[in-house]
């Protein structure tokens, strides 16, 4: 495409190699001024790498960058900021116990005579900026006390404060509630109206449809083209991204629930700070059904799972697995009782990253005689067992038995965990945020597996912060708010608005 001043940013023929691996292979990106431009691609496709090049964190091996028709060289984030580029990372870079104002001016402080910090003036400037874009943030609140959605606005303000004309948002909706996402989209349109340009990195199709004007697609480091969002569809975007036709709707037959497998009564759990997070929760999960728990992060989901898996102590109440008491025993006992859990944070709870793949696949079952008699651990057995799982669950790369787990992509790491959990044929499968950070193809796989497990007769407890996921996959939807189940619905009898309201603590009408 021709270089022109109509474009805020034009990146042409960008090539980036890491050793022998080509992360980006001649990618083009043309972002018109005053538009929202989405970059779509699977995990590891090179979206973030491309943006890191624009932000000066990496240097491209080949290719040019033009801004407003002029060629620029960006070799550091400082230079990117000078060129009016601001980036909001997926993981916020905020000082938790600083106030909003302090965080915004950090590194670019307003100083009076003799370098004395002028907090009053700084506060005014932050207020003015916040009001201009309708951000509605309290300049004196501490970061630790405000919601994730607010924190994100602080990050955006930080970029605007540094004079950003072009905002890069990396996976901005990953942590937001549906209502917060709406507000963010509103803010984005406001920013465009006031002359800014926004680049958003995402793999969520719906948000692209709602917010973006144009969408550039990258598949495995290769530029697949740019489409006009208005004339495109979610299905078209998905198949362009993955390179094959993807089924976006979850297909399943009606559930045939059996006996109650998991029964929770009056469960109360405190978090590690001693604050009650689960407050007298009741829940039943039957075999052959998927119970999905919808809720905003921090309403007791983590503590609920911790109590079932016996990682946390229950203050009161009972957790029964087919009538057998699980409460306050050991994680081992939970597993032996037929519960397998896909954890929300796979790096923290799910995997031993420095272990090779075949060591990771037996993390509960290594004690079984199947993997060596007595003190011996039979590594040959481990390997052949893992080879089967790799084949069965399509874990890539093929032949990764002896590769370190840390070398696998996020989607394949998740597949390895699911393979490990499902292969024990659990009676209850807990899936806590099972698709977090996964791309469309991998999400499809996870959902299919959950449904297959249900059809095998397992009870499935799905806990997710993605409302769509809960609504699409579950047979029964329960809403958790403030450590209690505030509503239970059969699938199809409730809409997003009603659930969203319940999730935010509103009354069901």
């Amino acid at each position: 495409m021709e270089v022109s001043s109509e474009y805020a940013v034009q990146m042409h023929g960008i090539v980036k190699r890491f050793n022998t691996f080509t992360a980006l292979d001649g990618v083009d990106l043309d972002v018109r001024k005053q538009t929202v431009h989405a970059i779509l691609g699977e995990n590891g496709a090179g979206k973030t790498t491309l943006m890191n090049i624009l932000y000066g964190l990496y240097q491209a091996d080949e290719g040019t960058i033009h801004m407003g028709g002029k060629e620029v060289a960006i070799t550091s984030p400082t230079e990117a900021i000078e060129h009016g580029i601001g980036m909001v990372h997926q993981h916020f870079m905020l000082v938790e116990n600083f106030t909003v104002t302090e965080n915004i001016i950090l590194g670019d402080e307003v100083c009076g005579a003799a370098g004395v910090l002028d907090m009053r003036k700084a506060r005014e400037e932050v207020m003015a900026l916040s009001n201009e874009y309708g951000f509605d943030v309290d300049p004196d609140a501490r970061i630790q006390d405000i919601t994730v959605g607010m924190q994100q606005r602080v990050e955006i303000l930080k970029a605007l404060y540094r004079g950003a004309e072009i905002l890069i948002l990396d996976e901005p909706t990953a942590v937001l509630t549906p209502q917060e996402i709406d507000k963010l989209i509103e803010i984005m349109h406001d920013l465009i109206a006031k002359g800014k340009t926004i680049i958003i990195i995402t793999h969520k199709l719906r948000e692209i449809m709602q917010s973006a004007d144009e969408c550039s697609i990258i598949r495995r480091g290769v530029y697949m083209g740019t489409v006009d969002v208005k004339t495109s569809s979610e299905t078209e975007l998905a198949s362009k991204m993955v390179g094959r036709n993807v089924n976006l709707t979850v297909e399943k037959t009606p559930a045939h629930p059996g006996d109650v497998v998991l029964s929770i009564r009056g469960l109360t759990v405190k978090d590690d700070r001693g604050i009650e997070q689960v407050r007298g929760l009741d829940l039943d999960v039957r075999s052959g059904e998927i119970v999905g728990i919808a809720g905003i992060d921090g309403n007791g989901q983590q503590e609920l799972v911790d109590a079932i898996t016996n990682l946390a102590k229950a203050e009161s109440g009972s957790i029964k697995m087919k009538g057998k008491e699980l409460t306050n025993t050991t994680p081992r006992n939970t597993f032996v009782s037929g519960v397998a859990t896909i954890p929300s944070d796979r790096h923290r709870w799910g995997l031993v990253l420095p272990f090779v793949v075949s060591e990771n696949t037996v993390l509960e079952r290594h004690v079984d005689d199947e993997f060596g008699k007595g003190i011996n651990l039979d590594y040959d057995k481990l390997r052949s067992y893992t080879t089967d799982l790799i084949k069965q669950f399509d874990i890539r790369p093929v032949g990764c038995e002896d590769e370190r787990m840390s070398g696998l992509s996020g989607g394949n790491q998740q597949k390895a965990i699911i393979a490990r959990m499902v292969s024990s044929e659990p009676e209850l499968l807990i899936a806590f945020q099972p698709t977090r950070g996964l791309d469309v193809g991998a999400i499809e796989f996870v959902h299919k597996t959950l449904i297959a497990e249900r059809d095998r007769g397992a009870a499935i407890l799905l806990i997710s912060f993605e409302l769509d996921e809960v609504m699409d996959v579950s047979d029964t939807i329960a809403v958790i708010y403030h450590g209690q189940i505030t509503g239970t619905f059969a699938q199809g009898t409730v809409d997003e608005n009603k659930l969203g309201l319940l999730m935010a603590g509103g009354e069901a009408k």
Binding site: N19, T22, D25, R219, R220, G221, V222, T309, L311, T330, P331, R332, T334, F335, V336, T341, P343, R348, W349, G350, L351, V352, L353, P354, F355, E359, L363, E364, H366, V367, F371, G372, I375, N376, L377, Y379
Partner: protein
């Protein structure tokens, strides 16, 4: 990947590189101080391996630091920093002495009991540190440093007790000879032995002039067993899982607290065994009043890190370390160069092993050079490399 590149990415290369840098820096220091580096290194080598007697002494001195090295390496592989090998070693020597002095049984009973006493001493101290960590979350570095001093003063206390103090000396009583691991200890001093050894001068030198004992063989055996336990057993698997990711281990039902205690207990037992083997193997076969830490534990840490925390790697590392210390004395004797130069060398080597990133960087360089060469070749032939397909 070329062979050179592969080699540079190996752990062995990192250790070798560290040793090389240590020698180069020592050479510079020696030259600046006015000594001939080449002559000094020659003296160093000669002083460690020049005579059978020297070799024997190097091996004797390598025994305790091989074991404390394995102790530190083992703990490290399970995510714990056993800075307490020193104290475990001291407690090992103390308990071994107490049992060896008190009991006087025939060798097949006496020796195992004395060794066991040392093992139990070290294991108890290690397990205590592990228990404090598992139960109360107190960092093992802090508690094991404190335990080092507890062991230190306990040793001095025992030396001064009526039961164990050897009159008119600063030592305890030596253990009974049935506890000795000295090789051919009685035979070599008998008439027949002396007569026989006259014909074989090198053997005579080793047997009569050094305390050659079975300790090193035991230490190698322990290193191999520990290596096996770590990489081939369920216990080792669990211990490493706890070491790499405590949360994931707990999540999968591995009893994390028990494994922390067990890991420190085993590490302590190995260091305690090192202490017991010193008592049974080396004259004067007893403990003495300590004025300062003897550094067997701390040198073990150096050995472990030079070996990249591989138990098997500790074997060559301990021999090298021992050779540097023992041969270093002859640098002073033959050239008058201060033996502190050896400490500088050791310091540099250990420092460089803490920089594991250096040799992979060299590997990257080699890789890049090769790529450039390949690029140059293709352009010369007029056929550019084909574009990579997705």
């Amino acid at each position: 990947m070329s062979k050179l590149e592969k080699f540079l990415r190996s752990r062995f290369a990192a250790a070798l590189f560290a040793v090389l840098v240590g020698f180069v820096i020592s050479a510079v220091v020696l030259a600046v101080a006015g000594y001939d580096p080449i002559a000094s290194f020659a003296a160093l080598f000669n002083g460690s391996f020049g005579k059978p007697k020297y070799i024997s002494n190097v091996i004797i001195k390598a025994t305790p630091i091989l074991l404390t090295g394995v102790s530190v390496a083992f703990a490290f592989k399970t995510g714990l920093f056993n800075i307490g090998a020193e104290g475990q070693y001291i407690l090992g020597t103390t308990l071994a002495t107490m049992v060896g002095v008190t009991l006087n049984l025939p060798m097949p009973f006496q020796l195992p009991l004395v060794l066991l006493a040392g093992i139990v001493g070290g294991a108890a101290l290690g397990a205590f540190v592990g228990w404090l960590k598992a139960k109360f979350g107190i960092h093992e570095v802090i508690t094991s440093i404190m335990c080092n001093w507890i062991a230190f003063y306990f040793c001095n206390f025992i030396v001064n007790t009526k039961t164990f103090h050897k009159p008119d000396s600063s030592s305890a009583l030596p253990v009974n000879p049935s506890s000795y691991t000295t090789i051919l200890g009685t035979w070599k001093k008998s008439e027949a032995g002396k007569e026989f050894l006259k014909g074989i001068p090198w053997l005579r030198e080793i047997l009569l002039k050094t305390d050659i004992n079975a300790g090193f063989a035991v230490a190698i055996l322990v290193a191999v067993i520990i290596g096996f336990v770590l990489t081939r057993t369920k216990l080792g698997y669990e211990l490493r899982a706890v070491g790499f990711n405590r949360d994931a281990a707990r999540f999968s039902g591995i009893p994390v607290e028990r494994n922390i205690v067990l890991s420190m207990l085993i590490a302590g037992a190995i260091s305690g065994l090192a202490g017991a083997l010193t008592i049974t193997g080396i004259a004067p076969h007893t403990i003495s009043l300590l004025a300062a830490m003897e550094s067997y534990g701390f040198n073990g840490m150096s050995v472990a890190f030079i070996a990249g925390c591989s138990p098997i790697g500790c074997i060559p590392a301990s021999i090298m370390f021992s050779a540097l210390i023992y041969g270093g004395m002859s640098v002073q004797q033959s050239l008058g160069a201060p033996s502190d130069i050896i400490n500088i060398m050791i310091g540099t080597i250990v420092f460089c092993t803490a920089l594991p990133g250096i040799t992979p960087v060299l590997a990257d360089l080699v890789h890049k050079k090769r790529e450039e060469r390949d690029d140059a070749r293709t352009t010369k032939n007029g056929t550019p490399l084909p574009e990579k397909e997705a």
